[in-house]
Assembly symmetry: C2
Homo-oligomer: 541 residues x 2
Amino acid sequence: MDMPHTVDVMTATIPETHRLTGQMIIAGTPVRGTGTQIHAFDPAAGAALDPPYHHGDAGNVDAACAAAADAFGTYRATTSDQRARFLEAIAGQIEAISEPLIARAVAETGLPQARITGEVGRTTGQLRLFAEVLREGSYQGARIDTALPDRSPLPRPDLRQRFIGLGPVAVFGASNFPLAFSVAGGDTASALAAGCPVVVKAHDAHPGTSELVGRAVTAAVAESGMPAGTFSLLFGSGAGLGIALVTDPRIKAVGFTGSRSGGTALVAAAAARPEPIPVYAEMSSINPVFVLDGALAGRGNELGRAFVASLTMGSGQFCTNPGLVIAVDGPGLDAFVAAAREALAQAPATPMLTPAIARSYAEGVTALSGAAELVGRGQDASNECGCHAALFTTDAESFLNSEALQAEVFGSSSLIVRCADAAEMHAVADGIEGQLTATVHADDSDLDAAAELLPRLELKAGRILFGGWPTGVEVSHAMVHGGPFPATSDSRSTSVGSRAIERFLRPVCYQNVPKSLLPSAIADGNPDHLWRRIDGRLSQD
Amino acid sequence: MDMPHTVDVMTATIPETHRLTGQMIIAGTPVRGTGTQIHAFDPAAGAALDPPYHHGDAGNVDAACAAAADAFGTYRATTSDQRARFLEAIAGQIEAISEPLIARAVAETGLPQARITGEVGRTTGQLRLFAEVLREGSYQGARIDTALPDRSPLPRPDLRQRFIGLGPVAVFGASNFPLAFSVAGGDTASALAAGCPVVVKAHDAHPGTSELVGRAVTAAVAESGMPAGTFSLLFGSGAGLGIALVTDPRIKAVGFTGSRSGGTALVAAAAARPEPIPVYAEMSSINPVFVLDGALAGRGNELGRAFVASLTMGSGQFCTNPGLVIAVDGPGLDAFVAAAREALAQAPATPMLTPAIARSYAEGVTALSGAAELVGRGQDASNECGCHAALFTTDAESFLNSEALQAEVFGSSSLIVRCADAAEMHAVADGIEGQLTATVHADDSDLDAAAELLPRLELKAGRILFGGWPTGVEVSHAMVHGGPFPATSDSRSTSVGSRAIERFLRPVCYQNVPKSLLPSAIADGNPDHLWRRIDGRLSQD
């Protein structure tokens, strides 16, 4: 990356205690990397940001993993309530630095201050959601099958089951959510909740934000009396330090949000280990939007405008950006397209996260230009990071026969697939790869058509929306941010919402274990007041 | 395999309708393979059994997978109660042929009739357990987060979540449980319960048993009105037909019980697919038994005898066979060893499942003989399949420095590790690979020592037993038959017990989906009377 000059935006606004140091954190200790030097980059100003950071090396990975493995025994033995208070302490530490944190994250990402402010709230909200999950306690999956000493021909032993943490977890920060999917984001919060120490590899796009949050987590570790190795923060490349981290024998699971190539490389590295481990990689999704005939006829204009608002939000840098619209050709779709084109023409060229992402985006748009018809573009930008939004159209047959048209273009780019009829729309639904989301716009007259579409979409997506747009992911109990490959590497899981904790747990059965040695979750008398499955029936007794 | 002569044991005992045909079953239709011819082998009689079977080919895999994919939409749309009745129908069909089935399975395996009779009961019991799981309904993981239309700054949509089946599942029958882990065993029962069609690759060791059970399942498919592609049964080699099955794009998950080499080959093949899929491979475990000082001092003799009974049961052909005993050296351990040696000397050379397994066993024992000290052996056999049980001893340091001493020997072979003290015992516990089970024998005086051991064992095993022996796996709600690699390829799961259904499910979120289109599990008014998580709280309302 060419660095014309650097601006120390932090000097003026940050108190001494929050001055960035450019260091990693290994088990509570700041460590300066000795590898490649990187700078954050302000994509709005087009300027590199101080201080410099340096990538770590294999020795740093070894030290962080050794500390995590060492901490695991103590950390996993903490009570649910102790870990809940720890997560709340992290949230509190983040809130205590929200002003400089927001300023730095805005500078590093070019995202609007309101968006970053909201993301801080989402990040602390996630931490507090997992604190609730811990206190509620069902995550432990407590089950008891009572002994049947008189059963014939063989007695049944006393059998009890609970979940325990897998072990140290490697978390890879995402470029596009510098807080909510980064150092103390959903992967970290859910792994810590599960009783697993975390080693984060920060994303190079926001090292200052990562350092600030890493120090907040470190402060919470100390404040809560957790072992220092519970958390470490490393900088490095995915192909170098990232692979070293995933292949370290002490790491037992991986959380990743990023590109398909990056995710599949980590999945392959984890599968090739002497002891393979699970990788939860959230990778690639074009988030199809099906607009049915009645909705199109009644609200084509309105939907076209709303679509562009979703498409261009945050320069389209969402995993759930609507990159595909499928509808049956006709005047309704014409109105949708015309309204979208008009709205798009007004869309300013907001900055993308990094020059590299902007270049990738431009290449993706160029590739689509050769394979589909251009419908319209957003406003052009002189800024090298500006996102020059693009909208294309094609027919169903071309779409189904082209891998290029199905590839994700990260940024504000979308493709409208004109279908001849409902059967072609079904063929497109059946022909796409796995997705994070599938959206349906339907009016009352469309319910029969929607009923035919729904089972097809269930097989393709982790979340199905009626109305609205896929951008915007609620953090709650029923959310699924996941889906069949390549949306994720493991469709059995979600990276958002309370079920995310399940990714880092495994069941253990205790047979005839003496009462005095039983963990409280499965002890007699239910001292933790959990919902437990007793002889197959849920009970709080 | 050299076939001196063949015996048609079935002609005399089986009615015409149950006469074996030597055919595979693809979506309800008998199909004769055109590949390698195989015969079952009676290891007790030392004779091949008619009829001949033939391996299938890639075309058979394609046909079975196409039928399974075709059936999936209809099959997964059945209600929980319909699938429960279908599983009960399979159990009924198996019971209807129990007499010829038991006769054939005894002939094909050399296992005692009482054991096979028990296994029929276990198999039908598993099917009925999953019928219960279906009717209870919690497997659907129903969750509802109610809409908050007035929330600021953004309203919360109506969010609902349920689990659906992954798609067609490939199941590999195990050699050592011709019924309970084979054609209609735990993997098949749990996958069918989850709404997934199943394609079974039968184990070559018991083709006749497989055909009989396959026909029972096929009859139940027809009787229950399920689509024919819900079930297919193929014969073939693991490296040929097995890999073709696992890499077929329509297969979405795999269940396997067998060797470490076989399991890791399937895991690697599944990971290398364009769309990787989960493989639940239950592979290798030596099932350490820790005998603590008090137990040893008080009951060394008795424990030594009981250990040998567990070691030699079924010629040691259990995944949970106690292949490792760890204790602190001293007079108690001497008494244990002396009693074990004496009991072993009386142990008859019962037949192993196949000549190949018997040869592997003999090679494993020879390898151990070079690396550890022989303590004693069972009775020798003239029969080529006879299991000449073996018991070895070594010290902790030698054990920890030798991969050979940690390798599973399938059959009645075990290794006693003499430790200098509790610290060495802990080092052995920390140094072993992942296990299905870990057993502790402790008296009241051992509780402190047991408390130090327990957290170490939690990290190594799926099931921890106090007292008793690991052979014998209860099929219930709290059971875990799983564990860290290489015990299984996925420690987050169990292949025995009601949680096994979770392996074949994934969550889907429904956002603002019209009431009339919602699946009943997450519909308003709770028509299925399920336990559901409403805004984070369990409720049956």
